[in-house]
């Protein structure tokens, strides 16, 4: 049963940045685009499970801190070697200054 989980306050994440979010033993990454749209993906790189929150957000792309693997964080799409497997993405919504992500 999907449910909306509060992940962070809108101000917790800077524009064009990413922060980590933990829930029920799983890691997630919450992004804020330059135009203040929030996105969420799995927290680890699909290549070697590095935490994406330590990576660099640039132009709609999150880059893994270990091997520079890149994903489109809006769609989770892997953008070339060494990452070949897409990231799982999660729907988000903002209510009352809080970012929610929908988890299954």
């Amino acid at each position: 049963m999907p449910q909306w989980i509060p992940a962070c306050a809108t101000d917790d994440v800077d524009p064009e940045d990413v922060i980590p979010f933990e829930h029920a033993g799983e890691s997630y990454a919450v992004y804020r685009s330059p135009d203040d749209v929030y996105y969420a993906t799995a927290g680890h790189c699909s290549h070697e499970r590095e935490l994406l929150c330590d990576g660099l957000v640039m132009g709609g792309v999150i880059e893994c801190p270990k091997h520079n693997g890149r994903f489109d964080y809006t769609s989770g799409k892997a953008m070339g070697a060494p990452v070949l497997v897409d990231l799982r993405t999660y729907p988000t919504k903002v209510e009352g200054g809080t970012v929610y992500i929908e988890l299954a």
Binding site: E48, L56, E63, K66, H67, A81, P82, L84
Partner: protein
């Protein structure tokens, strides 16, 4: 000993499985603490420094080659071709490296374009070597996992020395290129290049093969060495600085230890060497935080140097340590250079199965 050594360092041998069993593969590596905002600032990309350095690199090559061609009938051409050769055969290594990481430029196609040019010059397939280097960063100096260990224990001394003029690497690169032209990979490449990436390797090899065929045909038809001196040849005669720099990175240091402070050197170099080597002398910093662009590594060094073993003051200082260490390892493979962390540095990460760099055998004798 030769066969045992190669088997030990093989990516498809028993030590590879032992490293996985010991938790050394894809392990959690030590990182110095850097404030999050500062780290994000250091990781920021821009095109300016790499555009400048690439223009200087390629521009100098064009000028030096041009003067060398004009003077080709006299010995005065030698210093110009010698300098051209170093830019082609040695400086290409760090351009391959930086652009392979995708950090040199902000603009992606620039990284990719320079990466492909540099890969050709240094004679490394851009796809296979990207995967090889990815593994090197995941499992740095983990025996049986890292495909880029230059000085094994014991070192292949003749190979190391011959490689200063590319006498091993270049023939191996040519053999691999022919293998790739035929649509095959070596056993080691097959260990780290995913299936979906392999057609790129074969396509590149066919293009490169055609280029070398044209160069050799031009030399034969014109009755001149000039085409080979300009293309391909510098990978031999200009390669020596690649090894002068490259051997400083890890030789003689700890193996099987998940802390770059103990298995990697940072060496202070002058401005010319830093240009040729794209600041890769800040090697501990690069391994610990591979996303920091090369032109920000001096700042990163200042940020974390209190947590690192002292940097070596010069190339000469690094060689004064690494040459005796590598020679001693010819007889005593348990010997390694133990790097002492400064007072106040955080202790190295030590899972129970990981040693401090002594390279104790993972497989009981």
């Amino acid at each position: 000993m030769g066969r045992e050594r190669l088997e030990r360092y093989s990516l498809v041998g028993p030590d590879s499985r032992a490293a996985v069993d010991a938790g050394l593969a894809s392990a959690d590596w030590y990182r110095s603490a850097v404030p999050r905002k500062r780290m994000k600032e250091l990781m920021r990309r821009c095109d300016g420094p790499a555009v400048r350095d690439t223009a200087l690199w390629l521009g100098l090559m064009i000028v030096l080659a041009g003067v060398g061609i004009l003077l080709r009938d006299s010995w005065w051409c030698v210093p110009f071709f010698a300098a051209y050769g170093v830019l082609y055969g040695s400086a290409s290594d760090s351009r391959w490296h930086e652009c392979g990481h995708g950090t040199a430029f902000r603009t992606r196609w620039m990284d990719e374009a320079v990466y492909r040019i540099a890969s050709f010059m240094v004679m490394r397939d851009p796809t296979a070597s990207r995967w090889s280097h990815t593994r090197h960063h995941t499992d740095t100096l983990v025996v049986g996992r890292d495909p880029e260990i230059q000085a094994m224990r014991p070192a292949r001394l003749a190979k190391l020395l011959a490689n200063f003029v590319g006498l091993v690497d270049v023939p191996v690169a040519m053999r691999l290129m022919v293998l790739h032209v035929g649509g095959r990979l070596s056993a080691e490449e097959a260990d780290y290049v995913p299936e979906s990436e392999r057609p790129k390797v074969f396509r590149t090899a066919r293009i490169w093969f055609a280029i070398y065929a044209v160069v050799i045909a031009s030399a034969v038809v014109s009755g001149s060495w000039l085409p080979v001196v300009l293309v391909g040849g510098p990978a031999l005669y200009g390669r020596y600085m690649l090894y002068v720099y490259g051997l400083t990175q890890h030789s003689g240091l700890g193996e099987n230890v998940v802390d770059h402070r103990l298995n990697t050197r940072t060496v202070r170099m002058n401005a010319v060497n830093r240009f040729l080597y794209s600041n890769m002398n800040y090697h501990v910093e690069h391994h610990m935080f591979p996303m920091v662009p090369y032109h920000r590594l001096p700042e990163l060094h200042e940020e974390i140097k209190g947590d690192l073993a002292p940097a070596y003051p010069s190339i000469w200082a690094a060689y004064r340590e690494l040459v005796p260490a590598v020679l001693r390892q010819l007889k005593d493979q348990s010997y390694y250079v133990r790097r002492e962390l400064p007072p106040g540095a955080r202790p190295f990460h030590e899972p129970s199965t990981v040693n401090d760099g002594r390279a104790l055998p993972l497989i009981p004798a």
